[in-house]
């Protein structure tokens, strides 16, 4: 037995096993790469080689000439990544503090609004930066904000975002009361494709680009959800918020806005069983 050569054309085990494996692979490949593509209805292949390349998953420039349909409105040009803002920079915060003087009329002296405009103190850096960019490009429109950002440079927006993120999160001017967290906030509605608000906006999980909502004005929150639902606001990337808001009932929109407005920082975390 020790003299039996395995890797030899005389060894039946070798020829049999290799031959059978190759035969099965060849037949399977013939089916997968040639015959089955031929049976596809509606597919147009130039030749057999085209079929094989397509079945292999080769990425090639498309031969189909279909016009690229562009939206008839400005979409957001900001690419949101966890690294988009870079490390915290004290010089940037200082510059932001100076620039922020022009925001105080509506957003409060320390980023805490007394009107129904959003509080910015402690707001995530990415959220402030993205909204400023979107106002400037016209992806988001506002009679008040749009004219105020036209002269802001990219660095100005980064500085403002750094400054507002640096400010401490204080309780808003909205009465806090013990209201139980609505189900839409904690659990969403699985069968309507609505994830929990807290899954992106903090408390359960924070996803880059989402805004901090606790203590915001209920009027503002409700107006934004309604704007997303009707499509008058559409600077959310890939319709993330529009798809959610459209599926929410008016009662759920009101409940979520009311609930968030009443919360001091971290209250939603407690409601979700987190500290």
């Amino acid at each position: 037995m020790s003299e039996e050569k395995l890797f030899s054309l005389r060894n039946r085990w070798f020829t049999g096993a290799v031959g059978l494996t190759v035969a099965i692979a060849a037949v399977a490949a013939l089916f997968g790469f040639v015959l089955l593509p031929s049976l596809q209805t509606g597919a147009t292949f130039a030749d057999t080689w085209d079929k094989i390349c397509t079945a292999a998953g080769l990425v090639r420039p498309t031969t189909l000439v279909s016009p690229v349909i562009k939206p008839d409105f400005q979409t957001s040009e900001v690419i949101v990544t966890p690294q988009m803002m870079g490390p915290t920079d004290t010089v940037s915060i200082g510059r932001g503090a100076t620039l922020a003087l022009r925001c105080t009329m509506c957003h409060g002296a320390r980023g805490l609004s007394e009107a129904d405009s959003p509080n910015l103190a402690g707001q995530y850096e990415t959220a402030v930066y993205k909204q400023l960019q979107d106002f400037k490009t016209g992806a988001r429109t506002s009679a008040v904000m749009s004219p105020r950002v036209t002269d802001l440079s990219d660095q100005d927006m980064r500085d403002l975002a750094a400054y507002f993120a640096y400010l401490p999160r204080l309780p808003g001017y909205h009465p806090t009361g013990d209201v139980p967290a609505p189900r839409i906030v904690i659990s969403g509605a699985p069968l309507r494709n609505i994830p929990p608000c807290a899954a992106c906006h903090g408390a359960i999980e924070y996803k880059t680009g989402a805004a901090w909502l606790e203590g915001e004005s209920p009027v503002y929150l409700k107006a934004q959800l309604e704007a997303f639902a009707t499509g008058t606001r559409r600077n959310d990337i890939s319709q993330q918020m529009r798809n959610i808001a459209r599926n929410m009932t008016p009662a759920e929109i009101a409940a979520a806005a009311e609930y968030y407005s009443r919360q001091p920082a971290a209250a939603v975390s407690e409601a979700a069983g987190l500290k």
């Binding site: 020790s2 890797f7 070798f14 096993a17 089916f31 593509p37 998953g57 699985p190 069968l191 996803k207």
Partner: protein
């Protein structure tokens, strides 16, 4: 004769300890997602639990059982002490350390990415580093298995390798190669991202690498069970192994076709071409061949036992089988679950049919039935068979053992059959809660509750299992004698070179890997702009 009893026992206890803990997590998951419990306020807790359950059950339990049982086979089949005893302890230490390193970030909620990793989600680096340590620890076992076999062959030129050792080495070689896919994914893609060295990841490529590991790992889990079918069951029930070469062919075939078929897990992934999906589907169909050969051979071996006990007629031998023997019961239950699981698997492996159940609870039901059912019940059987030889004390609680196997079988059926059913109805898997108040899902509530009951039966079975083993440790000392394996009807005196070594089969495995994975991997690596930003989990709240 087993020389390193403590080493083997340590592997088994560590494996079963992890198993005991992860089983409770599994039942908790079933319960909180069922209509019996209100929605979980924090779904992250569910994903944290699934990560711990999956990592322990898929990586720690089977790896340690394969290692411990493997060392037992190496000593008992080759009839000599293990070479590299210190290395074996080091391997075990690495698996234990890796498990602890991985489980800490998981417990803290810093790596709730599930055991399938799911890039571009990226968790705490220590989770992945821990998993790598477990794998590296098991590679020490692979090396020792090969070294011991090589040394034995050198001392016994031309002699047929004992079947148990042949199978054990086939399993080790399969694991060595199949773990490479996930190792590449972890070392070159996920760990650099987890450490913050990279900020993007090619998730499509990562999934292809993981699929390299993902299917053959199932066969690595399955090897100890199959070794037990062939080399323990016929001896334990007083029969003979029907065919020794058939057993060798089955194990060799697993080596060839278990690995290059993983893309059948990616049927819904756009980054792999349809042609390759079909190719993998075709080879997946082939992997049923060694299983069918095994079912035939083992049924024939069991029939020999029945006839030796005086069974007559076409089915008369079934009645006289030693049904009070736990090993007999275990193999029967295992085959029933393997049959149902395998039949369900035909749906998963078919490129077209898969789309009706892809990512539904059907898939969860399928692998729990095959792994948790058919395979793990044989792990119990192996433990029952080996324990007296490891502890020097007899296991005498036969009633308890039978009750344990019965409850495991019934529990697993009650758990997985409703899962298959709700899967067909479209219930997605791996969700923290379901809205059973919605008319679209209300009909699934009863089935889900049935699964919770099945899980509870499994917990009872687990308690019985530990009771049997612990009672065994407290029994009076007895001499267990030599640990023997089944004898074949025709003992091999000479074996063809192809069935006495692995050169041919490993070459075919590598060749098929190149055919089935070479182009998709090379193509995806060559594509530019396919990486996406990493999504960090367990970060800011």
């Amino acid at each position: 004769m087993l020389h390193n009893k403590k080493l083997i026992l340590a592997h088994f206890w560590l494996a079963f300890g992890g198993f005991g803990f992860a089983l409770l997590l599994g039942e908790w998951q079933m319960y909180i997602r069922s209509p019996l419990h209100a929605w979980l306020g924090n779904p992250e807790l569910y994903y944290r639990s699934v990560t711990a359950h999956g990592t322990t059950m898929a990586y720690v339990l089977p790896t340690l059982v394969a290692m411990g049982f493997g060392y037992a086979i190496t000593e008992a089949a080759l009839k000599r002490p293990l070479i590299g005893r210190k290395w074996a302890w080091a391997g075990l230490g690495l698996v234990l350390a890796g498990t602890i390193v991985a489980i800490i970030p998981v417990s803290l909620g810093l790596a709730s990415v599930l055991y399938t990793f799911y890039p571009p989600m990226v968790g705490n680096p220590f989770y992945y580093i821990g998993v790598v340590m477990v794998v590296v620890g098991s590679w020490i076992w692979v090396a020792l298995t090969v070294i011991n076999l090589h040394a034995w062959k050198r001392d016994n030129p031309g002699a047929p390798v004992p079947l148990a050792m042949y199978a054990n080495t086939a399993g080790a070689l399969l694991w060595a190669w199949t773990a490479v896919g996930a190792a590449i994914e972890l070392l070159f893609q996920i760990i650099p991202a987890a450490l913050g060295l990279t900020t993007t990841i090619d998730a499509g490529l990562a999934r292809v690498f993981f699929s390299w590991t993902l299917h053959a790992i199932v066969y690595f889990w399955l090897f100890p069970a199959y070794i037990a079918y062939y080399t323990i069951v016929p001896r334990a029930i007083g029969g003979r192994l029907f065919s020794d070469p058939m057993a060798r062919i089955s194990f060799s075939l697993f080596l060839v076709v278990a690995m290059p078929i993983g893309v059948h897990h990616l049927f819904a992934d756009p980054q792999v071409g349809a042609g390759f999906k079909f190719l993998h589907s075709a080879f997946t169909a082939l992997v049923s061949l060694p299983t069918l050969l095994t079912v035939f051979t083992i049924c024939a071996s069991v029939e020999i036992a029945g006839r030796l006990r005086g069974g007559k007629g076409a089915l008369g031998w079934l009645k006289v089988l030693p049904w009070d023997n736990p090993l007999m019961l275990a193999v029967a239950f295992s085959f029933v679950m393997l049959g149902f699981g395998g039949a369900g698997g035909l749906i998963n492996m078919s490129y077209q049919l898969d789309s009706s159940i892809h990512n539904t609870q059907w898939v969860t039901g399928h692998f729990h039935l095959i792994f948790g059912g058919a395979i793990v019940i044989m792990y119990f059987a192996i433990a029952y068979d080996l324990w007296p030889h490891l502890t020097g004390r007899a296991l005498t609680s036969f009633r308890l053992m039978r009750a344990q196997l019965w409850t495991w079988f019934v529990g697993m059926i009650v758990l997985t059959f409703p899962w298959h059913y709700v899967g067909i109805l479209g219930m997605p898997r791996r969700m923290a809660f379901y809205d059973y108040t919605d008319p679209a899902m209300a009909g699934e509530a009863a089935s889900v509750m049935m699964s919770v009951l099945g899980g509870a039966i499994l917990v009872v079975s687990e308690i019985l299992f530990f009771t049997v083993l612990i009672r065994g440790h407290r029994a009076p000392r007895v001499e267990a004698g030599e640990y023997r394996f089944s004898v074949a009807t025709h003992e091999p005196h000479s074996v063809p070179a192809a069935l006495n070594g692995f050169g041919l089969w490993v070459s075919l495995m590598l060749g098929l890997t190149i055919i089935n994975y070479g182009f998709p991997i090379a193509h995806l690596m060559a594509l530019r702009d396919t990486s996406v930003p990493v999504v960090r989990v367990g970060g800011a709240k």
